[in-house]
């Protein structure tokens, strides 16, 4: 909004002097009754107006208007202008912020998309690695289980063989112990002498 004082074509001191002149002239005309010839017909026609007083009041307005303008209208106009300026700068800032936010949002959405793509790739890679690990673990476990089975079979066979051997050895020992007992019970001096004689004779043969 523009300043009304700047737009006015009449300077303020001229208005002040003109106002004083009109106030003084109007008061004089009213008091002296110079304008009664005009005022009375108007009053008779239903228009009770005193032109001298009216001119004086216009002169008072001319004097008061610059005062009102400088002490009230101008500060008010200045406040309104400042407020308008603040609002304009605020709108500009808001617009700038909105632009910035739009840009940031676009960047954020782009980064988010990139991150999502990266995350998808990482997940795919992790899934692939997990599958490979699972396959290798499965293969290793299978191999280990097969080895354990083979080892168990070998051990079972060895235990079986050992048990069989022990049983056979026990049979041999028991049989020979029984035979030894029987021979001991049936051994006589004659038989013993014959055994010794045979030994000596064989000694001669084997010489």
């Amino acid at each position: 909004m523009s300043n009304p004082e700047q737009k006015s074509s009449v300077p303020t001191p001229v208005k002040f002097v003109l106002g004083l002149a009109m106030m003084a002239g109007g008061t004089y005309l009213s008091v002296s009754g110079t304008l009664d010839s005009i005022n009375k017909p108007l009053a008779e026609k239903g228009i009770p107006i005193d032109l001298g007083i009216t001119v004086a009041v216009i002169g008072v307005f001319l004097i008061l208007f610059p005062v009102i303008q400088s002490f009230y209208l101008n500060p008010l106009q200045q406040a309104i202008d400042e407020r308008n300026n603040d609002l304009e700068s605020t709108f500009a800032e808001v617009e700038e912020l909105r632009t910035s936010m739009t840009k940031m949002r676009a960047e954020y959405e782009q980064r988010l998309a990139e991150k999502e793509a990266e995350a998808r790739n990482q997940i795919q890679t992790a899934i692939k690695e997990a599958q490979q690990l699972r396959q290798s673990l499965m293969a290793e476990a299978t191999e280990r289980a097969d080895a354990m089975v083979r080892q168990a079979e070998i051990e079972i066979a060895a235990d079986r063989t050992q048990a069989l051997t022990e049983i056979r050895a026990s049979v041999v020992n028991l049989s020979l112990a029984a035979a030894e007992k029987v021979v001991g019970e049936t051994m006589t001096s004659d038989r013993n002498r014959k055994l010794v004689a045979t030994f000596i004779d064989e000694l001669e043969v084997a010489k």
Binding site: L176, E180, V183, V196, F199, L203, K207
Partner: protein, 184 residues
């Protein structure tokens, strides 16, 4: 404690001296008598081994016991052993002396174990066969071990001739167990 190496050195010295003096048989008999006394008489063994009896006292007692019963050479050997505190070596000395004598005479020593006492005719025949087999004269000691059940076992040098029932069963057991292991 008996020390075979020490006893062997004493036996070698005594055997050389006895051989030079031609008293090997007499010295061997003396050593056999003393060793048998040490092995079989506990009181004499305790006296001989006692650390509380001095060497001089032991020599004095030995003089009284043996001086008029054994040869002078044997007596000198006994005194020497006692002076040197080698009382525990009497038996090893005897064994070493006999081994040297057998080695010198080319005699084979055989240990014969039977289940029953072996009769003289069989002993003579056995020694004759062993002498033929080894081409040496044979000296044998005989003992009885009922665990043999029957038969005879002869050990000489590093050889063992086992004709006992127990030995034959042992051989049979080894053969059978070997066969059993082969079958597996």
């Amino acid at each position: 404690m008996a020390d075979n190496r020490v006893a062997k050195r004493y036996a070698q010295a005594l055997f050389r001296t006895a051989k030079d003096a031609d008293v090997i048989k007499a010295v061997e008999d003396d050593l056999n008598g003393i060793a048998n006394l040490v092995q079989n008489d506990e009181s004499f063994q305790e006296f001989l081994m006692s650390p509380h009896v001095s060497a001089d006292e032991k020599i004095a007692i030995a003089d009284k016991l043996f001086s008029d019963r054994i040869t002078a050479l044997s007596m000198r050997a006994v005194r020497l052993l006692l002076e040197k505190g080698r009382e525990a070596e009497f038996v090893n000395l005897r064994d070493g002396f006999i081994a040297l004598r057998r080695e010198s005479e080319g005699v084979v020593y055989a240990e014969v174990v039977t289940a029953e006492v072996l009769e003289n005719d069989q002993r003579q025949k056995l020694e004759m066969q062993l002498a033929k087999k080894t081409a040496c004269s044979v000296e044998a000691t005989y003992s009885v071990d009922p665990h043999l059940i029957g038969g005879i076992r002869v050990t000489y040098g590093a050889n063992v001739l086992d004709g006992s029932v127990t030995g034959r069963f042992r051989t049979l057991r080894e053969v059978l167990l070997h066969d059993v292991l082969k079958q597996v």
